[in-house]
């Protein structure tokens, strides 16, 4: 086993496995040096947003210090530099998600805006009363509410793939829901509560056999595993930079160019037009047609560093690392009394998200108490109220992992859970 200084440990050749060297990686994340109430920070909320490596933070500063100028429209050095950097990232992202056509990469603010864009623009033009849109019971609000709006406006009907008790999509029911009426199937790659890795390839194939358009909410997928949009053959894929080491304010919508070309823009104004008169306007080509106004180009450029960082580690190594951490967490939590853990137990179908419900301490109290030990976890409905209702709980607590977490973080969590009970004067086993 050789340790390299770039955060990757090369395992013996015969295993072909690379794993992450968290000690080295942690050095790249300045925030992890911070103390919270005197304790080292144990950041277990990466499903909400990830921390940023120094290279991303520095790329952002460096850009503002040396090259900043509005893009696309200036014929001077700074503007040429900004524009190229911006367009280069489009190419990089297209490669990162499997070598798709870069004209299909639209920059938005976040996953939510990407999904709204598909719902507003593609669906509204293509959906009529009686058509069906298939979603799942485990969707994030951002992949539910835009479709609720479309259904209300068009008279389309929403169908939801139910979630089994152990956290899987009920695929038998999915196949029953599918029909000639199905126009859109929009599902999350990974549940942000259950951690379930959904069989999206199978879902896409089935949907396409009915000529339905497929939309993937990749917010929890793209950051954590290699995603090949070309092989998956999804029609749309949405994700957020801030959940994969990048800055806030950048989302991506990938769409097949032939679909994007037929779509109307949702936002109009400077930068996305071809020709404007006082009473008419024509549009620029894709993807610019969908990017109205001054884009958040500085953050786009910083996102580029995040992609480099992830590629250096390799998405496969990231997945292996998270699998190990998740297995360990499940193992430790399962022996904990009066505590329910949600989602699949089979680690092959589970990403690094572990939500649980402590029957003795309310999620918000737990979160506050854990914080006093420096442990950052999220309590609440995780923007998935229908799923909470499915499991009949008002809220729960979620720990989620990324490349800078290790088993010591999980141990800290378990220790924290015990302390919380002591603090509330409950017995701990």
């Amino acid at each position: 086993m050789t340790t390299k200084t770039d955060g990757v440990i090369q395992m013996p050749a015969e295993t072909g496995k690379q794993v992450l060297n968290v000690d080295i990686i942690r050095n790249d994340f300045p925030i992890l040096n911070r103390k919270i109430h005197g304790n080292r920070i144990v950041y277990l909320d990466s499903a909400a947003t990830t921390q940023k490596p120094a290279c991303v933070i520095n790329a952002l500063s460096f850009f503002y210090r040396t090259s900043n100028a509005n893009i696309h429209r200036g014929a001077y050095t700074l503007s040429e530099e900004s524009s190229s950097a911006y367009e280069n990232l489009r190419e990089k992202i297209a490669r990162f998600i499997g070598g798709v056509d870069q004209r299909g990469i639209v920059f938005t603010r976040n996953t939510t805006e990407s999904l709204n864009l598909v719902a507003r623009s593609w669906s509204k033009a293509n959906i009529k009363a009686g058509d069906e849109i298939i979603l799942t019971e485990m969707e994030h609000h951002s992949n539910l509410v835009p479709w609720i709006m479309i259904a209300q406006e068009t008279g389309a009907v929403l169908k939801h793939i139910p979630v089994t008790e152990d956290g899987y999509l009920d695929m038998d029911i999915f196949y029953k829901l599918l029909s000639e009426r199905t126009k859109v199937v929009s599902v999350t790659m990974v549940s942000n509560v259950l951690g379930t890795i959904n069989p999206v390839s199978e879902i896409i194939k089935a949907a396409h056999s009915y000529n339905a358009v497929t939309v993937l909410d990749g917010a929890q997928g793209v950051p954590h595993t290699k995603v090949d949009a070309k092989e998956l053959d999804c029609d749309f894929l949405a994700f957020s930079a801030h959940k994969m080491l990048g800055p806030t304010g950048i989302g991506v919508l990938y769409g097949k160019p032939e679909l994007l070309e037929k779509m109307e823009p949702v936002l109009t104004g400077g930068g996305m037009i071809q020709e404007v008169t006082l009473n008419s306007a024509t549009w620029a080509e894709i993807p610019w047609k969908f990017e109205a106004g001054t884009p958040n180009y500085a953050d786009v450029i910083a996102f580029s560093s995040a992609i480099d960082y992830l590629e250096k580690l390799s998405m496969d190594a990231i997945r292996i690392h998270e699998k190990e951490l998740t297995a360990y967490t499940l193992e430790r939590l399962e022996t904990f009394p009066d505590l329910t853990v949600y989602g699949p137990r089979d680690i092959e179908h589970r990403a690094g998200v572990v939500a649980f419900y402590d029957k003795l301490i309310h999620p918000h109290d737990l979160s506050t108490i854990l914080d006093s030990y420096g442990i950052a976890i999220r309590a609440g409905h995780h923007c998935a109220q229908p799923l909470m209702r499915r499991y009949n709980i008002p809220a729960n607590v979620r720990a989620s992992f990324y490349i800078y977490n290790d088993k010591a973080d999980v141990d800290a969590l378990i220790e924290g859970l015990k302390k919380a009970r002591e603090y509330f004067q409950y017995e701990t086993s």
């Binding site: 109430h37 109290d365 609440g380 924290g416």
Partner: protein, 156 residues
């Protein structure tokens, strides 16, 4: 791991109210009932009230939620019975202001409520402390609106 430093938040008084909520009881007469709900964290509270001559004679509080919201509801149930609607309004207002960092009037009796003062430092938890009070306030408002329809001049 370092010692918890949360004693400003979860004081013993709070834990006591949390574990033995005072308002969880039946009333012999229910004049008004109101449900409060915070969908963002799932906290729920049901308040039932019995009024006599413009006074809150008794109140039952049934909370499902975190220690802060349950304790706050329990303190409400302990403190308010026998108070006039005007007094209740003043206490509610004073408590709300305390949560936003203001000092209480010297002469106001707020029972165990001062144990909740530490909550003000935890922005995301202030709503938890306020929810029973907001619910009671809504109950009183709804009742007044209804009664105004019947007899426009109501004793305060």
């Amino acid at each position: 791991m370092k010692q918890v430093k949360l004693d400003d938040l979860y004081r013993d008084t709070i834990l006591d109210h949390y574990k033995n909520p005072r308002g969880r009881k039946e009333l012999d007469r229910i004049d008004a009932e109101h449900k409060g709900y915070n969908p963002l964290c799932g906290d729920q509270v049901t308040i039932k009230a019995k009024f006599t001559n413009g006074y809150l004679e008794d109140v039952a509080v049934d909370s499902q939620g975190c220690a802060i919201s349950v304790a706050s509801g329990s303190m409400l149930a302990e403190l308010l019975p026998g108070k006039s609607l005007k007094e209740i309004q003043q206490i509610t207002e004073a408590f709300r202001e305390m949560m936003h960092g203001k000092k209480l009037p010297d002469d106001m009796d707020i029972g165990d409520l001062d144990a909740l003062e530490g909550v003000k430092k935890y922005h995301s938890r202030i709503k938890c402390a306020l929810i029973p009070w907001i619910t009671l306030n809504d109950l009183i408002k709804a009742r007044q609106e209804k009664e105004t329809l019947v007899s426009p001049s109501l004793p305060e």
